[in-house]
Amino acid sequence: MDVSRIPALAWEYRYVFLSGAGITISLTVISMLIAMVAGLGFCLCSMSRNRLVRWPCIAFVEFFRNTPILVLVVWVHFALPDLIGIKFVAYVSSIIALAFQSTGYLSEEYRAGIESIDRGQFDGARALGMTYPYLMRRIIIPQALMKLAPALLNQFVLCFKSTAVVSVIAVPDIMYHANVIVNETFLSMQIYTIAALMYFLLVFAVSAGARRLSKSFFKSQPAGEWRSAMA
């Protein structure tokens, strides 16, 4: 149980681990960007009065929310191609699985955010002659997004941690490289400890930084700039 070798090993394999971290981060960022847009779309559709729009969206959201991410990654990579006739490279399969799951979660978060907006806001907007799409875009969604900032951050962290499972379809992320190195060196305790620390430090840095950012952001401006930032 030689713990003292960890720093040396981490240094020795630094480029491998860093390239893994790059993959992990890019998977998270791309998946979350897709999910933030798609989640809003699915949220709005799942609130539609038209059943033909609403039900498929609810089914999609529920399926991807209630399926383990490991199963999703494997399913998207090995089962989905047979269903739709298109084969993805492992990296793309991973993004699809991660993005779909985050879409499912975010769709529900968006919905909670929109439903938490006071009915009076709808009344006020309609009484000024705003149509439904207009008032959603200008009045309701901007307010919902502000309330959702913590939930978005939370989902970002969840997505980041979920990326570790993509190593099962051989996407070269941190975890994949750790497995490879362990197979070569049999130093499982040291290598997996390095991997765990990397995940921890990255997640911790992201969430602490985002928390500080949003705190100072909300302190300095009680909302208005959000609107112009998103317009």
Partner: protein, 262 residues
């Protein structure tokens, strides 16, 4: 010029019938106060005028627009959704809870709909907003957010926001119920000043003395029906129905002198 006429209007929420056959005529340019206890249907009544609520039977004529149970029409032509929205913009509404948009500054609250809905040029909208803000005595608050204003200031901004659309009809839904006595006075004074114009104004209120001072007509509602309706003089000096007399007598004793300053 926009008169309003209710004919046999019924409105239900599920099994709860809130309006039980309303017949009411408001002349163009009149200022009508609607009195009555909570739950008598006053708020629902004015929400039907700008189609925030749908009705089950009867119809309401507002100027050249007719509101029926399943659509709005003008000159026998059914209004599209966009035109219904435009119709609503002609009926300014001020709410009990202000309903200002908290993520926008006072100025943005005022110019959002005129620019986005009416297509007003931004510069012109801002000019008009600044004039209104000066008029309601809050020019220095233009870049503040609603949360930093007092209740009375928020309600004055809400009134200005409604006026920005230059509505033909102005609806007040218990505009001072959420306010303390002092700020109530500043809001009532503003409404009083506004209601002297040619616009048709309907005010749902619990402020009886205020109703007496500002309205040309008063209606009293009870259990989903208009119990009494007449000119302000008639209403207060010769109420016909026993329920109206009973309602007024409760308040005669408690009429505060805070309205003396209006």
């Amino acid at each position: 010029m926009t008169g309003i006429a209710f004919s046999a209007v019924h409105k239900r929420y599920g099994r709860n019938e809130v309006l039980k056959g309303i017949d009411l005529h408001v002349a163009s340019g009149a200022t009508l106060s609607i009195l009555g206890q909570s739950g008598s249907g006053k708020t629902t009544l004015i929400r039907c005028i700008n189609a925030l609520e749908t009705i089950q039977t009867g119809h309401i004529k507002v100027g050249d627009v007719t509101i029926t149970p399943d659509h709005l029409e003008s000159n026998s032509k059914r209004l599209s959704r966009a035109n219904v929205a435009h119709y609503r913009a002609r009926c300014g509404m001020v709410f009990q809870g202000f309903n200002l948009f908290p993520h926008m500054t006072v100025l943005q609250n005022l110019i959002e709909a005129p620019i986005g809905i009416r297509g007003l040029v931004r510069k012109e909208a801002i000019r008009r907003a600044d004039a209104l803000l000066a008029d309601i005595g809050l020019p220095e608050k233009r870049l503040d957010y609603p949360a930093s204003l007092s209740g009375g200031q928020q309600q004055r901004v809400a009134i200005a926001r409604a006026l920005m659309m230059e509505p033909d009809v102005l609806l007040f839904d218990e505009p001072t119920s959420a306010l303390d006595p002092v700020t109530t006075i500043e809001v009532l004074a503003l409404i009083k000043r506004l209601s002297s114009g040619t616009r048709t104004t309907i005010i749902v209120t619990h402020e009886i003395e205020f109703a007496r001072q500002v309205s040309s007509h008063v209606a009293f509602m009870k259990d989903g029906l208009v119990e009494e309706h007449g000119t302000t003089d008639e209403f207060f000096s010769r109420p016909r129905s026993a329920a109206t007399r009973a309602f007024l007598s409760q308040f005669n004793a408690s009429t505060g002198d805070r309205h003396a300053s209006l």
